[in-house]
Symmetry: C2
Subunit: 222 residues, 2 copies
DNA sequence: TTCGTCATGTAATGGGTTACATGATTAC
DNA sequence: GTAATCATGTAACCCATTACATGACGAA
């Protein structure tokens, strides 16, 4: 049971690890901080929270009324329900963080995984980045061959769409290349200690993300 | 009834307009020509085809056995089922093509709409392109403000993710700008006849897509 | 006092996948 | 003769949305 979505569960646990929140706020964070990718509705979020509570990964805390009001009482005054990560929940999240299987670099998952790279160990980060890159590269390969095979049968618009799509993927590959490179550089210069560890090292924090992307192009001009 | 998906229905009708096909082939075209965006499974495609037949927009033709074998007979020899667009289906597709409402430029729909721009009238093309552009621009606006509001609370990775996401959107906007520009140029130089027409002009074909993107960057090097 | 936003939920529905079941045709 | 791919379908499930219902709180 509780084969709940994965991605939402992951994101919720990750956000709650930073600080307790109630559902409404959680949803906003989901759609801004991590957002761009996915906008979850309450109809998804609240049932998910319930399930996480049922699993013992979260606890509900009713702010305001300290003890005796059950919070879920119908018709009684409704209180905000603040969700807090339990130790078991934290453990579970770290367990999830340590996985780097194929599903970690598929389209839907990759973004969220990346968003929590700050909490992820360096070697898992590397595996996920490289996994995604090779995923994209094989996709590129497929696009290229299918493009040359069907070349003449497609009109200009379809062709242009194809071209733009390929360029987008190529662009993401370049992005990944830069990230991987700076991850590699970061490891070399700062951490030979955590090198050959394979068991999930819970307590030890990652040590802070490397300052990747030397020549940042964030400048808000344009 | 038949509030089937929209996007699949649209793509199927569009592909079958070019030439009759059976389901299997249809699906491959869906995932290559138009693909990149969406991969439909048979569990989606075949029921959809049945529904389109029920609507009178397609007819099934059994290749091989000309007349008396019902094709859907169980245990009988199974024949390929070729689907062909009916006149009603063609009419319906053109009706769909002429719509340029907000759902035409949302993420899921835009790609498919664009793929059939070859069959779309120039003014609808313009509306869709401009609609998408302003959609993306308002999204950019939201991202920018949410970025400056929460700036310091985000770690490097989240920030980088955000930055890359914004850059992707900006890139698509630039792409749209080019397309819109060349559409505009194309209209000026070739067709003052179809200018101020607002009713959907069914019969009249578009007259062929303009050779947009003068300096093509398709070169397969790199 | 009303409007907007905060806040929590549920039931119906939608749109799609996975896994399964079946069989024909082609290439080796 | 057997493996791969072509080819068609169904049932069970999954994830999420929509629309709805409820209500608190602050500002105009």
């Amino acid at each position: 049971m509780s084969r709940r979505s994965g991605i939402l569960e992951f994101a919720v646990l990750g956000l709650l690890r930073e600080s307790p929140m109630h559902g409404y706020e959680l949803r906003k964070r989901l759609n801004t901080s991590l957002g761009v990718f996915r906008a979850f509705s309450y109809g998804t979020l609240y049932p998910c929270l319930k399930a996480l509570v049922a699993n013992g990964w979260l606890v509900e805390e009713t702010s305001g009324a300290p003890e005796d009001v059950p919070a879920t009482t119908l018709t009684g005054r409704r209180a905000k329900i603040v969700y807090r990560l339990t130790p078991a929940g934290k453990e579970h999240f770290e367990e999830l963080l340590s996985h780097s299987g194929p599903d970690a670099w598929e389209d839907e998952h990759f973004g969220v995984r990346f968003a929590f790279f700050g909490q992820t160990s360096r070697d898992v980060r590397m595996r996920v980045l490289e996994g995604r890159r090779s995923r994209l590269e094989e996709r590129l390969e497929k696009m290229r061959t299918s493009l040359t095979r069907t070349r003449e049968r497609l009109d200009d618009y379809t062709l242009e769409l194809q071209r733009h799509g390929m360029e987008s993927v190529e662009r993401e590959v370049r992005w990944l290349n830069e990230l991987i490179e700076s991850e590699r550089a970061g490891r070399d210069q700062r951490a030979p200690e955590a090198a050959a560890q394979d068991e999930h090292n819970q307590s030890g924090d990652t040590g802070g993300p490397p300052r990747h992307r030397g020549g940042s192009r964030l400048d808000p001009s344009e």
